[in-house]
């Protein structure tokens, strides 16, 4: 009984870490320009494909794990950041002062365009691609009879590292403080000499880099990538961001882990016809509805609600 609980807890933490990484990108962009960037899930997908491309076309066979992983990560982050910057420059910046629906619809358009571009032009991307099994070996016991596989340990460690680094960056660095200031009041921030365009680009870059880490992590952990992977993952991460309080960085992390845990515990503990893997999303979204009804600002509260 306890074994099961601990095992599912571990599964939930890994799933939650990936949701949280993607949710951070949603929440940062929303915090600063109040745009729900529905193409963020595709940035996650492009990060995974970037890492896969490095493995498939750049690295020679038999490259050591410690060389391959950083290079793949670099490739993934580079691809994701380039696409995100281009997306911001050409799709969102011209619409910055347009009614809010216009950039939202644009985001959906960009999302579809990116998916289809990968499907049509990336070799063999019409069906699922097998991501290399780089981290192999037997599962590591974590006590109470439960165990986790090695890839998931890497995923959780890297995710936590990224989240800590992001928090430090936003709180301590000059650029981070400029981001906070822009989130609170862009007009005053501009009067104080902050280059708003740069702040916005930086928030897209950071979000894309984290999404790329999540994309590669999912490839390593689940062993497969495909051009549609960003759709469901993006939807879940958006849910996580809203759950925690959109615009709030800590909220995205809390929301991500909460969503991951609810999903696995629903599989484990809800019996009968409405239990099991096929129903886990239903319970996850039911939780979202409950939270929105009783606490519309999200679990940790929306930090920048004053400009809506």
């Amino acid at each position: 009984m306890l074994t099961q609980f601990v095992q599912q807890l571990a599964n939930g933490v890994v799933l939650g870490a990936m949701y949280a990484l993607i949710a951070l990108g949603y929440t940062m962009v929303y915090g600063i320009i109040q745009l729900i960037n529905f193409a963020h899930g595709e940035i996650f997908m492009i990060g995974a494909f970037g890492a896969f491309t490095v493995y498939r076309y750049v690295l020679p066979d038999g490259t050591s794990l410690w060389v391959a992983l950083p290079l793949m990560l670099l490739g993934g982050v580079l691809a994701a950041v380039l696409v995100a910057v281009a997306m911001e420059r050409f799709a969102y910046r011209p619409l910055r002062n347009a009614p809010r629906l216009a950039p939202l619809i644009t985001a959906i358009g960009v999302s579809i365009a990116l998916q289809e571009a990968v499907r049509l032009y990336y070799p063999d991307a019409r069906s699922k691609l097998a991501f290399p099994q780089l981290i192999s070996g037997s599962p590591i016991p974590i006590g109470f009879g439960a165990s986790v596989d090695r890839a998931s340990v890497v995923v959780v460690l890297v995710s936590v590292l990224c989240m800590v680094a992001l928090t430090l960056f936003v709180r301590r660095s000059r650029m981070g403080r400029a981001m906070q200031a822009t989130a609170q009041d862009p007009d005053t921030a501009r009067l104080m000499g902050i280059d708003i365009d740069r702040v916005i680009v930086v928030s897209f870059v950071l979000g894309a880099a984290l999404a790329a880490v999540a994309g590669m992590a999912q490839g390593l952990y689940l062993g497969q990538i495909d051009f549609r992977m960003g759709f469901i993952a993006g939807l879940k991460a958006f849910t996580a961001a809203v759950l925690g309080g959109i615009g709030n960085i800590q909220g995205a992390v809390v929301g991500g882990f909460a969503l991951g845990l609810v999903e696995v515990m629903a599989v484990q503990y809800i019996p009968g016809q409405f239990g099991g893997g096929a129903w886990k999303d239903v319970w996850a979204f039911a939780l979202l509805i409950l939270v929105l009804v009783f606490r519309p600002q999200g679990l940790l509260g929306e930090r920048v609600a004053d400009r809506a």
């Binding site: 099961q4 699922k128 596989d149 497969q224 999903e263 484990q268 893997g277 096929a278 129903w279």
Partner: protein, 406 residues
């Protein structure tokens, strides 16, 4: 400008004339056949001749062609010359329906081999039934085509429809017997993807496995859109099964196998023909070795009865392979030819009565075919139900066990 317009109309005239001439030649050809004192009877083929599935479709067409050539050489129908008329269905129900209408309008058609896709068959069957044309499919595995939607109270929808291959309905029980009797595994878990195929497969497997005395310790589901199966795997692992039976297709089955083994649940996965595909092994990775999949039919190379077919096919010089369903198409064509031997004996032309007689004759046919003994039961299914268990070995699916299901 005017000159160009003139050129264009000239070109149109030439093309039109050529087209007319082509029609003319064709008509003359059949007249020529009649002049030899031989009347023409046609066997149609409806199969995917273009698109993703064209390898299978062309194999079906060529195999029917081979059966017809052999029958003509042996003068199987004295006074009659058999011709092939192949129509493309593009694996699409609507196109298949049009193909069926085209064939039904041809007075010389006495039987049709096809289709490959069960979904196409659903649209083709009513058209051919109306025209009383016998249809023998080499590749439809959907049980409802012969048994109707309610498998517990089977009712045959069309009396003109037969098939030489086996159906999905016995894949599950076949797999269950292999697991229980051959592998000696008594404790299994199941996962299905909640789609018609997956749910049906798991239900049939479970029923037979329990009847044999086996124990199903965990029954789980996943969404076809899911990519992370960790929580379901943890739940299955807790019940400690010795094999996991998966009802679904390879895009989910491959990753499921890989994740299951990475999470420490090192038991074989078994599925139906939905996972027997090279892509399964690619997605499943190195650890998919030892997984099983059942599929209808036998690998043709393994059957003694098929050697003659394979030799003749290669001698005939077709540019495409006979593919997975060639042997069944060859048997399907021969079933129709056998039927025509009876129904055309005293006939002078192909009337509705002759066509009905052909359906009756095919129903009663019984012969040793390429894929085994061919005879049809009261639903139009082949009485010989051959299936094969494949196993992942050395990076490919290898046939582990072929048997007929009784």
């Amino acid at each position: 400008m005017r000159q160009r317009a003139f050129l264009r109309s000239g070109a149109l005239l030439v093309v039109g004339a050529l087209a007319l001439a082509a029609c003319g030649t064709r008509a003359n050809e059949s007249d020529g056949g009649a002049a030899d004192g031989q009347k023409v009877v046609k066997i149609g083929v409806i199969a995917p001749l273009t698109g993703n599935l064209s390898a299978i479709g062309l194999g079906i067409r060529n195999s029917v062609d081979l059966a017809i050539r052999q029958a003509n050489e042996q003068n199987a129908l004295p006074g009659w010359k058999i011709e092939l008329r192949a129509e493309d269905d593009q694996a699409t129900p609507q196109v298949g329906q049009q193909a069926a209408s085209t064939l039904a309008d041809d007075p010389a058609i006495a039987g049709v081999v096809g289709t490959y896709n069960s979904s196409v068959a659903q649209n083709v069957m009513p058209v051919l039934d109306k025209a009383s044309i016998v249809q023998v499919s080499p590749g439809n595995t959907g049980p409802a085509l012969t048994m109707g939607e309610d498998l517990d109270n089977p009712k045959r929808p069309y009396h003109n429809y037969f098939r030489t291959c086996t159906t999905d309905a016995i894949q599950g029980p076949f797999g269950a017997r292999y697991v229980y009797n051959t592998l000696g595994i008594k404790k299994i878990a199941t996962i299905n993807d909640k789609k018609t195929y997956g749910v049906g497969l798991v239900a049939q497997f479970t029923k037979e496995f329990k009847a044999l005395g086996g124990e199903v310790v965990s029954e789980q589901t996943i969404n076809p859109d899911d990519t992370d199966y960790s929580s379901v795997i943890a739940k299955v692992a807790a019940a400690k099964p010795d094999l996991l039976y998966y009802g679904g297709e390879y895009p989910q089955g491959g990753p499921l196998s890989r994740q299951m083994k990475a999470r420490g649940l090192k038991i074989p996965l078994m599925g139906g023909d939905g996972i027997v595909d090279p892509k399964y092994i690619e997605l499943g990775g190195d650890t998919s070795v030892g997984d099983f999949g059942t599929s209808v039919g036998a690998p043709v190379e393994a059957l003694d009865s098929a050697k003659a077919f394979v030799d003749a096919y290669q001698k005939a010089g077709f540019s495409e392979s006979y593919s997975a369903y060639g042997a069944y198409a060859f048997d399907a064509a021969n079933a129709i030819i056998n039927g025509l031997k009876v129904s055309l004996k005293d006939a002078t032309e192909i009337t509705t009565d002759v066509r009905e007689a052909t359906i009756q004759a095919v129903q009663n046919t019984s012969f040793e075919g390429t894929s085994g003994h061919v005879a049809f039961d009261q639903f139009g299914d082949n009485t010989t139900k051959i299936l094969t268990v494949y196993k992942v070995e050395g990076g490919e699916w290898t046939a582990a066990h072929t048997d007929s299901f009784k």
